[in-house]
Amino acid sequence: MAKSDKALVWGLFAAGGTVTAFVTPVLVVLTLLPALGVLPDVLTYDSLRAFADATLGRLAIVAIVVLSLWHAAHRLRITLHDFGVRADYAVAVVVYVAAAVGSLAAGWYALAL
């Protein structure tokens, strides 16, 4: 048998899983605050721009978005299989294309900043 290329998507999934485990909760808290009437400093246009203008900051944003997408995409594929959706190939195409488009978009916006 041949080795599978799933290693590629799994690698992204695993990296994404780790990143999201560490950062998603705190990011969610940040973006939740406005709904409670609190606007943290970082969410003001000027400070976020300043953060994103630093190369490292910009890379961090893109990395978090991209890896979150791949993590979610791959796990969604498995989850759909677990829920009885057996069209694995079609599912894979849809979720990975979505993740790829999202990743490209993230890169594009980051460049456009």
């Binding site: 705190v26 605050l33 943290p40 246009y45 400070s47 997408l69 796990r75 829920f83 916006y109």
Partner: protein, 130 residues
């Protein structure tokens, strides 16, 4: 003579109801929907940021809506579930051997939690929440 063994089919759509550990598993898997949704929100935010001050401020305005609150609470709950389920199994995926023994799993898991808490607090402080 052929005497056929009996094959029990696994119920395709409901198997995960059969055992609590499967329910725990499927819940963990479902977190991806929320992680994905939040990734999409971040993507939109990034777009708004790129579009300029007004677009961004409208975005932040939208974050203040009740719908946003509901969304965020749900995402937070599943994200936390994802975090714990991810950290708790790290020693399995990445055992660390020191000489004749392995670093106890609790230590590896504990280190993850410690880093996570410090990191989250740092983000909150730098973000100007406190």
């Amino acid at each position: 003579m052929t005497v056929k063994p009996y094959v029990r089919a696994v119920p395709r759509y409901t198997w995960f109801l059969a055992h609590s550990r499967y329910l725990r598993y499927i819940t963990r898997e479902v977190t991806c929907v929320f992680i994905g949704a939040y990734a999409f929100l971040m993507l939109v935010g990034l777009k708004r940021l790129a579009e300029g001050r007004e677009a961004w401020e409208a975005f932040v305005q939208a974050l203040a809506s009740p719908a946003s609150l509901v969304f965020h609470v749900a995402v937070l709950a599943f994200a936390l579930y994802h975090t714990t389920s991810w950290f708790n199994v790290t020693p399995k995926a990445m055992p660390i051997q020191l000489g004749d023994g392995f670093v106890p799993g609790r230590v590896i898991v504990g280190a993850h939690y410690a880093i996570w808490i410090v990191l989250s607090l740092a983000v909150l402080i730098l973000a100007g929440v406190f």
